[in-house]
Symmetry: C2
Subunit: 296 residues, 2 copies
């Protein structure tokens, strides 16, 4: 088994064309030669191919409403049964909740103005911003996914110095983060994903683990903030795994941490720290002195 690659494939650029599914597979852009969704029920989905012109798909260019798989007859693309949140559908749901980037490949399809003239074209990275159950045109249950293109235009992190990081290696380029008004899905860096996995998504302040039907959810909080003028690094030593409430409270300086990892702002609570997670006390001190509001 080859390791699943999330994000850009080295040497492949947006707009690159491929004659057929075999070429796509060899290039690693989309491994399966038949399935439209590449992914697993544990790791999430790393790429999809849009080519079928499925009756419920809607391709709006930078926004794609993608229909899951299953429940179709072998010979046609028409629904004949309900879809379930399993296999590729579950993989896409995990990519949504974990903020994993999904490579989108469009195949020739005379019904879509966004499809290539022939063959297949790699059209860049998207985030699954939302997913939901719906009734398809045939009356059966379908699972739908809203994919949004990760913008190259505005990258607030242009200003963040890309710090030298040895492990784990980032395998998906720059660290664009966005928020869609419907959900709080953001794209996390590989480092952030690593810390969240280390804690199994349990909050380091309260221990809460938000469990969904497909995976669990937490947020990566940078202790010394990224961006000007703080310029904190995107490294393990500068990241905490927090629930949304404690992330908010940390960012707003309602809580902070002392040098013994006591939580300031909540009496008698100590930050839970995994033995493999070395937190840099310089960053903690920076947060305390600059962001913790009670000092004043």
């Amino acid at each position: 088994m080859k390791k699943r690659i999330f994000g850009e494939i080295k040497g492949i650029f947006e707009g690159d064309s491929f004659d057929n599914r075999i070429d796509l597979s060899i290039s690693k852009v989309h491994r399966p030669t038949q399935a439209g969704i590449s992914g697993s029920e544990n790791e999430g989905s790393d790429s999809i191919v849009i080519s079928g012109g499925y009756e419920d798909d809607e391709d709006l260019g930078n926004i794609i409403i993608y229909t899951g798989h299953g429940g179709r007859s072998n010979n046609s693309k028409v629904q004949v049964a309900d879809q379930t949140l399993t296999r590729g559908n579950k993989a896409l749901a995990i990519s949504c909740e974990k903020g994993l980037p999904v490579r989108v490949i469009r195949g020739y399809n005379k019904q879509s103005k966004f499809s290539p003239e022939e063959g297949y074209r790699y059209d860049g990275l998207f985030l699954v911003k939302d997913y939901w159950r719906d009734k398809g045109k045939s009356g059966y249950v379908i699972w739908r996914f809203r994919l949004e293109k990760i913008s190259n235009k505005i990258n607030l992190l242009d200003e963040v110095k890309r710090n030298t990081v040895s492990e784990p290696v980032s395998n998906y380029g720059s660290t664009v983060r966005q928020k869609y008004f419907v959900s709080r899905v953001i794209r996390e860096t590989r480092i952030a994903q690593y810390i969240k996995e280390l804690y199994n998504d349990a909050c380091q302040v309260c221990g809460i683990q938000i469990k969904s039907q497909v995976t669990s959810y937490s947020e990566a909080a940078h202790i010394k903030a990224l961006g000007k003028p703080h310029n904190g690094p995107d490294t393990k030593e500068n990241i905490l795994c927090l629930c949304p409430n404690h992330h908010t409270m940390f960012d707003l300086g309602i809580i902070s941490i002392d040098d013994n990892f006591n939580i300031l702002g909540i009496d008698g609570v100590i930050l839970k720290v995994h033995p493999k997670h070395i937190i840099d006390k310089e960053f903690v001190k920076y947060h305390r002195e600059h962001h913790y509001k009670k000092l004043s």
Copy 2:
């Protein structure tokens, strides 16, 4: 006392010039004729003027690191004492936590390439994305604010039909929402602000009210999601006041609501509903049928 206007002023457009502070004041773009920060300790700040070339300001164009007021001698712009999180500084902090848009006016200043050649220029709406305590160049405590321009370029809500709303009247245009990697500050619509105020920022699921040093924090959750293909409206009947954790759980379909306002997904909990808040059960049904994941 005239009502404080947050957001755009009718008839005034980005790039409009003003000869002096009196004209600025009459136009309502920036009411005070002396102070750099317009705002109050209860409502937040609605506008600032950047003109002083204060020693700790940094104008990067679409990002401004703005220094608070206080602690300066009358005759110079040099710090002679610590600043406190009061008056205009507190107002800007509230605008940060509430996601209120701040009008930015730049005055002539030979040290900044972003300043106008003469007089004053209205440069559009910004969000205060972060604020923190720092040591200024003079060694005294200063309060700093990171302002980011609200982008006109990418407006995901272009697709959202602007629904006819009678009350409360939106006084700040379109509903751009963004997320900066450091904070979860987003721009809320006037309607969303209204609902959050109605509940005094207490979560309708768990009752938690996240209190900061300057105000309290909650999030507005749309029951039937905005945007394609859901096209839920931005109206009171479609908005809940939630803490970040329950907002996340609601958006991910971990929890939902039945027709008697019992919370689905958490046993024995009923949604707290203010008598003035009429929730449309059609939207609740939509969320339950489309987003609540346990059905499957």
